[in-house]
C-alpha cells in the first residue's frame, strides 16, 4: 500500500517524552512517517495522541527526544515556524476563527505563504493588490475543494458541524503543508459525512500531501490508513499495517482490558 516514494521518511520522531508534573504523557515514542502515506495514530482516551500532536506542531516543547521533518530539526520550534516548515493541523475541538467568514478563515491560512506588511497594506501597491487577489482566489478554490464554496460568506460559527470540520481542513491546506495532521476529523460525523470525509482525505493524499490522523472510528482507520501506530499510557505498543495491528494482543488488551486478552 505504501507509495513508491515510501523509503524517504518525511517525519522522524525519536524517543519523544513529555511529562506533565508526575504524569508521563509520552514516554520515548518513536515514529517514522513516509512521504505520501496516510498514517493513523490510535489508542484509548488519554493515551497521549493529542499530546504527541501538540509536541509535533510546536504547541508543547518535548522534555526529551527529537523531531526531524523533511530533513530539518523541528524539536522545540515555535508553532508558526513549524507551520512554515510544512506541517498544518486541525484541532480535536474545532478551533476556527469563529466570527470571521469561512473565506476569511482560509485566507488567514495563506498568511504564512504571503508577504505584505504595513506599507503594502496602507499604500495598496500593485504587488499587494495582486497578492490579495491571489489569497482570495486560492482561498475560494480551497473552499470549493472541500465542498463548502457555497458557505464562503458565512461566519464560521454558523456552519454545520461537518462543514466546520471541512473548513478547518481547507484552512490547514491553505498553508501548503507537506504533512497534514488531523486530530479526530470524523468526530461527531454521521455515516454519510464520514464517507465524504474519507473521499476527501484520499483526494488530499493523491494531491501529494502526507496525512497523519488521530481517529477513533476503527472502520475509517482500517479503510484509509497505510500504517497505524497504537499509543497506550504514553507508550507506543504497536505499529504496522492496520490489519496486523488490529489482531495484536497488546492492542486488544489496551482497548478491552487485561481480563479478555
Amino acid at each position: 500500500m505504501i507509495p513508491p516514494t515510501g523509503n524517504a521518511a518525511l517525519l522522524e520522531a525519536l524517543a519523544i517524552s513529555k511529562r506533565f508534573g508526575g504524569l508521563s504523557a509520552l514516554a520515548e515514542v518513536s515514529l517514522s512517517i513516509a512521504r505520501g502515506e496516510i498514517f493513523g495514530l490510535i489508542g484509548p482516551n488519554g493515551a497521549g495522541k493529542t499530546t504527541l500532536f501538540n509536541v509535533l506542531t510546536g504547541l508543547y516543547a518535548p522534555d526529551a527526544g527529537e523531531f526531524t521533518f523533511d530533513g530539518e530539526r523541528l524539536t522545540g520550534m515555535k508553532p508558526y515556524r513549524v507551520a512554515a516548515c510544512g506541517i498544518a493541523r486541525t484541532f480535536q475541538n474545532i478551533r476556527l476563527f469563529a466570527n470571521m467568514s469561512a473565506l476569511e478563515n482560509v485566507m488567514v491560512g495563506r498568511h504564512v505563504r504571503t508577504r505584505a506588511g504595513v506599507p503594502g497594506a496602507v499604500l495598496r501597491s500593485a504587488a499587494t493588490r495582486a497578492e490579495e487577489r491571489e489569497i482570495a482566489s486560492r482561498a475560494y478554490e480551497l473552499l470549493d475543494y472541500v465542498g463548502i464554496a457555497g458557505r464562503a460568506a458565512q461566519p464560521a460559527y454558523g456552519l454545520a458541524y461537518g462543514d466546520q470540520r471541512r473548513l478547518e481542513i481547507a484552512r490547514a491546506l491553505a498553508t501548503e503543508p507537506k504533512l497534514l495532521a488531523l486530530d479526530e476529523p470524523a468526530a461527531g460525523m454521521n455515516a454519510t459525512e464520514r464517507a465524504e470525509l474519507k473521499r476527501l482525505l484520499e483526494r488530499i493524499r493523491a494531491s501529494g500531501v502526507t496525512l497523519l490522523l488521530i481517529e477513533h472510528d476503527v472502520r475509517l482507520v482500517m479503510g484509509l490508513c497505510d500504517r497505524v501506530a497504537v499509543l497506550d499510557y504514553g507508550r507506543k505498543i504497536a505499529e504496522g499495517a492496520p490489519l496486523a495491528v488490529q489482531h495484536d494482543p497488546a492492542v486488544i488488551e489496551a482497548y478491552l482490558g487485561g481480563a479478555l486478552a
Binding site: 506542531t57 510546536g58 504547541l59 515555535k78 508553532p79 508558526y80 507551520a83 512554515a84 498544518a88 493541523r89 484541532f91 475541538n93 474545532i94 478551533r95 476556527l96 476563527f97 469563529a98 466570527n99 470571521m100 476569511e104 485566507m107 488567514v108 491560512g109 495563506r110 498568511h111 504564512v112 505563504r113 504571503t114 508577504r115 505584505a116 506588511g117 504595513v118 503594502g120 497594506a121 496602507v122 495598496r124 499587494t128 497578492e131 490579495e132 489569497i135 461566519p155 464560521a156 460559527y157 454558523g158 458541524y161 466546520q164 484552512r171 490547514a172 491553505a174 498553508t175
Partner: protein, 369 residues
C-alpha cells in the same frame, strides 16, 4: 422594517447618492468652524478640534483593543510620550525649536518604540493580566514625567513644559489669524483644519490595515491565538506590530496636542484619560471605525454639553437646584451605563462584533463543544 432595510441597502450602493453624501459631509466639515463659531461660540470650535484629536487617539487604541483584541489600559502613555517629545524639542525648555514636519513623524516613531517596549513583556499575558500590566505602564510613564526634573531637569516635573512652539507648516504659523479670500481664520480654525486632515489620514490607514493580510492576522489572534499560531502567524511579531501601530497614532495625537495647547504637564495623562479613550472605543463599537469615531465625538461633546445643565436649571426652575459640576458627571456616568445596558456591543458595532455578542456563548459552544 425588512422593506426599509432592503431599500436602505439599495440606496447605500447607489454611487450618485454615495457621492452626494460624501460631498455634503465634506462641506459640513469644512464649514463647521464657521457655523459653530457663529451659532454657539468659539469655545465650541476648540471642542471640535479636541474631538478630532480624540478620534485619532481612539482609532489608535482601536488597533490594539478592537483589531488585535489586546486590552490596553495604559494607552494614554503613548499620548504623553508624543506630547513630551514635541514639547521638549520645540520649546525654550532646552532651547530647541525643531520644525513640525520633522517632529510629527519622529514623534510617531518614538511612540512606536514605546509601543514595542510595552508590548514585549506582555506577549504572554491575556485579558485581565494584560490589562493590569498596561495599567501599570501608563502610570510609570506619568510618574517618570512627574519626577524627571532631578538630578537633571528633563521634563520640568509637575510644572510641565510651557511656551511650546505653535505648529508651523512651512512659513505659516497656525497660531496666527490668517485672512484668505475675505474669510478670517483664527488660530483655533487653523488647528481644526490640520487635525481634520490628520484625522482623515488616520482613518484611511485604519481602513486599509483592517482589510489586509495584517488586519486578518490581528483578527485571527483576537479570535483564537493558538489556532492562529498553528496556521503560521508569528503571534509575537503581529502583537508587537499592533502595539507599535496603536502607539504611533497616540504619538501623533500627542505632538498635535502639545503644539495646540502650548503647554503640557503630567496632569493631562492620568489613568482617567486612558479609561476615557477606552470608553470611546467600547461605547462606539470595538473594531468598527465609524463606531469608534462616533464614540469619540459623543464622549468629548457630551461632558461639554452637560455644562449647560446649570443655565438650563436657571431657565426651567428660575434657580440652580443642583450644582452643575456634580450633576454633569452623574448624568455622564448614567448615560454610559444606559448605553452599555441597551447596546452592549456599542452604539455602532461592526456586523462582525454584533454577531459575536448576539451569538455569545452559543458560537463558542458550537465550535468548541
Amino acid at each position: 422594517m425588512y422593506l426599509f432595510s432592503e431599500r436602505w441597502q439599495k440606496l447605500r450602493r447607489d454611487p450618485r447618492l454615495v457621492w452626494a453624501a460624501t460631498i455634503a459631509l465634506a462641506l459640513l466639515l469644512v464649514a463647521l468652524p464657521f457655523v459653530t463659531d457663529w451659532a454657539v461660540g468659539r469655545t465650541w470650535v476648540r471642542i471640535a478640534a479636541f474631538v478630532l484629536l480624540y478620534i485619532m487617539l481612539a482609532l489608535g487604541l482601536n488597533i490594539v483593543v478592537g483589531y488585535a483584541g489586546l486590552l490596553d489600559l495604559g494607552y494614554v502613555a503613548f499620548f504623553a510620550v508624543g506630547a513630551y517629545f514635541y514639547a521638549l524639542l520645540a520649546s525654550p525648555h532646552f532651547d530647541l525649536h525643531l520644525p513640525f514636519w520633522l517632529l510629527l513623524p519622529a514623534g510617531a516613531a518614538f511612540a512606536c518604540v514605546f509601543g514595542v517596549l510595552l508590548g514585549a513583556p506582555t506577549l504572554r499575558l491575556r485579558g485581565d493580566y494584560l490589562a493590569i500590566v498596561t495599567l501599570g505602564f501608563g502610570e510609570i510613564i506619568r510618574i517618570f514625567l512627574l519626577n524627571l526634573n532631578a538630578p537633571i531637569n528633563i521634563t520640568n516635573g509637575p510644572q510641565g513644559v510651557n511656551l511650546i512652539d505653535p505648529i508651523r507648516l512651512g512659513g505659516l504659523s497656525l497660531a496666527q489669524t490668517h485672512t484668505v479670500l475675505g474669510f478670517t481664520f483664527p488660530a483655533v480654525y487653523n488647528y481644526y483644519y490640520l487635525f481634520l486632515a490628520l484625522a482623515f489620514a488616520v482613518i484611511f490607514v485604519s481602513v486599509r490595515l483592517e482589510d489586509s493580510r495584517i488586519g486578518r492576522a490581528w483578527a485571527a489572534i483576537r479570535e483564537d491565538e493558538v489556532a492562529a499560531a498553528a496556521m503560521g502567524i508569528n503571534t509575537r511579531d503581529v502583537k508587537l506590530l499592533a502595539f507599535a501601530m496603536g502607539a504611533s497614532f497616540g504619538g501623533v495625537s500627542g505632538g498635535l496636542f502639545a503644539g495646540f495647547q502650548g503647554f503640557v504637564s503630567p496632569e493631562s495623562f492620568t489613568i482617567l484619560e486612558s479609561i476615557m479613550i477606552l470608553c470611546m472605543v467600547v461605547l462606539g463599537g470595538m473594531g468598527h471605525i465609524p463606531g469608534v469615531v462616533l464614540g469619540a465625538v459623543l464622549l468629548v461633546v457630551l461632558p461639554e454639553a452637560l455644562r449647560y445643565l446649570g443655565p438650563l436649571q436657571q431657565v426651567l426652575f428660575g434657580r440652580v437646584l443642583a450644582d452643575p459640576a456634580d450633576l454633569r458627571l452623574l448624568v455622564f456616568g448614567l448615560a454610559l451605563i444606559l448605553v452599555m445596558l441597551l447596546r452592549p456591543s456599542g452604539l455602532w458595532p461592526s456586523a462582525l462584533r454584533r454577531r459575536e455578542l448576539a451569538a455569545g456563548g452559543g458560537a463558542a459552544a458550537d465550535g468548541r463543544a
